[in-house]
């Protein structure tokens, strides 16, 4: 069984806190499904702890400690309750989607492909979406200006000689090389995808082109 995990450098940037929010969401969702990567991330957190310990301490304002001691019994703003569990959306992702998988208003893109854009800050740099591809259908051959991270949530797809199933993360080795993912035949394939930059379609374009260019 093939398993596809985030690269060590991506996990390390997640632990360091330097990943942009959309990428952090992809990694947190993978980690919710993968104990092996959670163990690696715990080691990278420990690296951060060791580095913190090594820093030369800097003076706080003279009255800072007393001011904080006065605040210790302040009532705390209640934290939002964790979202209900969902068979497809792990908890961190469910919180961003804001509804269960069955309540998503999918937008049809044609060719058996639907999408739902996540309300997540990414500015013009990143687009974060759920994509649902009907069983056996393909996404037209395309390349990217920047990196694309794809995490499988349901079903699976095959891209070149690699097969990806729930929890697997696909990151293109070379974003400039066109690829054409094909959904597995056993059911709709649902993925969380973060795209950096614009998509470039290399084949016959269809209505997708104008939409993705958005």
């Amino acid at each position: 069984m093939s398993r596809h995990h985030p690269s060590p450098e991506t996990l390390m940037c997640y632990a360091a806190g330097s990943l942009p929010e959309p990428h952090s969401l992809v990694i947190a969702t993978h980690l919710s499904l993968c104990a092996a990567c959670r163990a690696d991330t715990a080691e990278m957190d420990a690296l951060g702890g060791a580095m913190l310990e090594d820093l030369s301490p800097t003076l706080m304002e003279p009255d800072a400690r007393d001011r904080l001691l006065e605040r210790l019994e302040e009532p705390e703003v209640p934290r939002p309750a964790p979202p209900p569990s969902d068979p497809v959306l792990p908890s961190p992702l469910r919180a961003y989607v804001g509804r269960g998988i069955d309540a998503i208003a999918w937008k049809k893109l044609g060719r058996g492909i639907e999408e739902f854009r996540l309300p997540i800050p990414g500015g013009d740099t990143y687009t974060t979406r759920l994509i649902r591809i009907a069983a056996g259908r393909d996404v037209p051959s395309h390349s990217h200006d920047g990196d694309e991270l794809t995490l499988v949530l349901a079903g699976g797809f095959t891209d070149g000689d690699q097969n990806y199933r729930r929890g697997d993360l696909a990151a293109d080795a070379d974003p400039a090389v066109p690829h054409r993912p094909v959904a597995d035949a056993d059911g709709a394939c649902i993925c969380l995808i973060v795209t950096e930059g614009k998509l470039r379609f290399s084949g016959p374009l269809g209505p997708l082109l104008t939409y993705f260019r958005g």
């Binding site: 060590p8 919710s32 420990a46 951060g48 210790l72």
Partner: protein
């Protein structure tokens, strides 16, 4: 930047015990000891990441307040106090300074897509792991340590590190991988 007088630093065990005292008994004396140890380090961390003095001071206070409030969830078998405080400071910085959210893994999720046997076999106690991580940091070759510092202290992703250093992205990636492989070897008990 002002420096504190050198003061004997608290050991990892002592720090763990202090957090446990705060968690179990809301012990203010223990909290003050933790504040003396961690607040100046957390502030230094935030300043290193480019926060101005006011923002660093504010986020440090919020980090220490979170420590007080969440101490009952501290579990020294999962991570030592220093690592735990690092994760709080990192998350508060993302909230308060970068103004983004930090999605966290659902650790309780029972579903596992990868073979769970492997990490369980390799699991070592948190205290031992923290100790070995320090060793690993000391033996890392300079160019690998520099990249890790850029990720942890400059808020740079691998792509941004490549742009900043002028190194090809592939070189940045491979240095990260080498650094992580080294870390793994040391964690598995091979310090060479």
């Amino acid at each position: 930047m002002q420096r504190l007088e050198p003061r004997p630093a608290l050991g990892a065990r002592e720090l763990d015990d202090l957090v446990l005292k705060v968690g179990r008994g809301r012990d203010r004396e223990a909290f003050i000891s933790l504040y003396k140890h961690f607040a100046p380090r957390v502030k230094a961390y935030l300043l290193r990441l480019g926060a101005d003095d006011t923002a660093a001071e504010e986020a440090t206070q919020e980090t220490m307040l979170s420590l007080w409030r969440r101490a009952d969830s501290f579990d020294p078998s999962q991570a030592g106090a220093g690592t735990w405080v690092f994760t709080i400071a990192r998350n508060r910085r993302i909230d308060l300074i970068r103004r983004e959210r930090r999605p966290e893994a659902d650790e309780s999720a029972a579903e596992q897509v990868a073979d769970p046997a492997e990490p369980a076999d390799q699991a070592i106690a948190a205290a031992e792991r923290d100790k070995r991580v320090r060793v690993a940091l000391e033996v890392l070759p300079r160019e690998q340590a520099a990249l890790i510092e850029m990720a942890y202290y400059q808020d740079l992703t691998q792509t941004a590190i490549a742009a900043k250093t002028g190194l090809p992205l592939g070189t940045v990636k491979s240095r990260f991988r080498l650094a992580f492989a080294r870390l793994k070897r040391v964690l598995e008990g091979d310090p060479s």
